[in-house]
């Protein structure tokens, strides 16, 4: 019975910090609006000089994809640095040892923090989606089946993203710092998952390369399913691939947690 309040208390740490800082929330709202307006204007402007369809994407599909990609970045943007609760900071200050001394395992604590962060981000993304849908900036999914496949694919995509972020944080146990690796990851994720531009516009070699990496599973697959660029009939293998990444990364990160625990020393050993 005590597990649920414990989960809740851990998961709500970052969202609570955000709610207690109105300027941050105002900032997020203003930035989302401006970014969305700019992205819509950019893609509509680009399509105005070209044909109605490019790389298999119509203007409406491209705008929907791009806007959803902007909204999806909210799922990843929460700041744990200000609260000094990143792995890198704990390694720097030596407080990482407390993660291993608490009744909650570090693996569980990390997962619960991430769950709270991503649910809070999802609330922002969902609110933004509702507004965009109401004003006609994004199209609704083609069918109930497509909506269901999108929801499942988004869940798997966020799961993959969680493990990738965890892996980068785990790097700190060996390198002490990971700020550069984290920045590389964010740029790689932006580029290879379709945040900057839908992957369908990229050259074939680029699309083939990204198929071997986990990044396209985080966003390109769910968004392509949503806009209908991946037909519902073809969604199965893509979902299976996402699930495959989840399993693989879960095994790897679990193994790394184990190895990391062996490296942590308390009070000089």
């Amino acid at each position: 019975m005590t597990a649920v309040p414990g989960v809740w208390r851990t998961a709500r740490i970052t969202p609570l910090g955000e709610l207690l800082t109105p300027p941050r929330m105002t900032g997020v709202a203003v930035q989302l609006v401006i970014q969305t307006v700019l992205v819509v204007a950019l893609w509509r402007g680009l399509y105005a000089d070209t044909g109605p369809t490019t790389a298999g994407l119509s203007r409406e599909q491209a705008v929907t994809y791009a806007v959803l990609a902007v909204l999806a970045t909210r799922l990843r943007e929460l700041d744990r640095y200000a609260g000094r609760d990143t792995v890198m900071q704990h390694m720097h200050f030596g407080t990482i040892v407390y993660w291993f001394l608490r009744p909650v395992s570090p693996r569980r604590y990390y997962a619960l923090r991430a769950l709270g962060d991503q649910l809070y981000g999802l609330a922002w993304a969902a609110a933004g989606y509702a507004v965009c849908l109401a004003v006609g900036v994004v199209q609704p999914p083609h069918s109930a089946g497509a909506a269901g496949a999108f929801a499942l694919s988004l869940l798997l995509g966020q799961w993959v993203l969680y493990y990738i972020m965890l892996l980068i944080d785990q790097l700190c146990f060996w390198t002490l710092r990971n700020s550069a690796a984290m920045l590389i990851l964010i740029f790689a994720q932006n580029l290879l998952s379709g945040v900057y531009a839908p992957l369908w516009y990229f050259p074939d070699w680029f699309v083939t390369l990204s198929a071997f990496l986990p990044f396209q599973a985080t966003l390109n697959v769910p968004l392509s399913v949503y806009v209908g660029r991946i037909p519902l009939a073809d969604a199965g293998p893509q979902l299976a691939l996402q699930a495959g990444w989840v399993v693989l990364l879960a095994v790897v990160t679990r193994l790394v947690w184990h190895r990391a625990a062996l490296r942590v020393v308390s009070q000089g050993g």
Partner: protein, 273 residues
């Protein structure tokens, strides 16, 4: 101290601190190499994005690919120089949180200079490497005749772009002294500059391109100087003289931002009140 040698001494001290900072960065070898990579990867991603747009869409707002490349190259070079010389304002909110600014106020060196000398920006090496490559590529592909006057304006345009970016982040840094949430805006601003700073703004509706000219002076970073150089002066949406004055506007904005910094620093109250 002899007052005539004071500026020279300041340069010497700054150089010595920079050398020490560089050695400090080498302490974490993997982080050092990754930081160089990050600069390169970020800039390469801008190039890839630009290439994709130019390949898939027939021209951007009437600009051919060589001219768009010049905007991207000027923006990237300006950004690389900004990161190298004036870019330490990004993480200022964290320095405020750590109470480091309070210590800076006690030392016999201007706080702004101490912030700039607080660490060596390793990622600038990667930024500038790719920027130089793109810059050479853009100049080779350009059909313009590069007279001495044009080259002088090109250099002035890049330096002006650097100062516009420096002005924006100095203003953000000034806000960080009082509002920790300014960090959020700073990160977003960097993304915005990277995404919309490298393309012709006439692709956007007039209201938005106006906003990115007079609301947030992004157009002065590279779009206007490149427009003047490539003969798009009449289609920039502003009078030609204003576009041509971009380097001076950059200088003016930077001086204004430094005044804002000085004012903000006077009103700074540390974490201990």
């Amino acid at each position: 101290m002899d007052h005539r040698s004071a500026p020279w001494n300041a340069v010497r001290v700054a150089w010595r601190i920079t050398k020490l900072n560089f050695r400090a960065q080498l302490e974490y070898r993997a982080e050092f190499l990754l930081m160089i990579a990050i600069g390169a990867i970020w800039q390469v991603s801008v190039i890839v994005f630009a290439t994709v747009l130019l390949t898939r869409f027939s021209g951007m707002g009437g600009w051919d690919s060589a001219d768009v490349l010049l905007i991207a190259a000027m923006r990237m070079m300006a950004h690389g120089l900004f990161v190298l010389f004036l870019g330490r304002m990004h993480a200022l909110a964290y320095r405020v949180q750590e109470g480091v600014i309070d210590a800076f106020l006690l030392r016999p060196m201007p706080v702004h200079r101490q912030v700039q000398l607080s660490f060596f920006p390793t990622n600038a090496i990667g930024d500038l490497t790719v920027a130089v490559a793109l810059f050479i590529g853009a100049l080779v592909r350009s059909s313009q005749e590069w007279t001495a006057g044009r080259i002088a304006f090109l250099i002035a345009g890049v330096l002006g772009g650097m100062l516009v970016e420096a002005a924006l982040f100095t203003a953000m840094g000034s806000a960080s002294l009082r509002y920790p949430a300014a960090q959020y805006w700073s990160r977003w601003l960097e993304e915005l500059l990277g995404t919309f700073g490298s393309y012709p703004l006439n692709v956007l509706p007039k209201a938005l391109s106006w906003l990115l000219t007079f609301g947030l002076p992004l157009a002065f970073v590279a779009y206007f100087p490149a427009g003047v150089l490539t003969g798009h002066g009449s289609a920039l949406g502003v009078p030609m003289w204003l576009a041509a004055a971009s380097p001076l506007i950059g200088l003016g904005l930077y001086l204004l931002s430094r005044l804002l910094w000085s004012w903000s620093l006077k009103h700074y109250t540390g974490v201990n009140g």
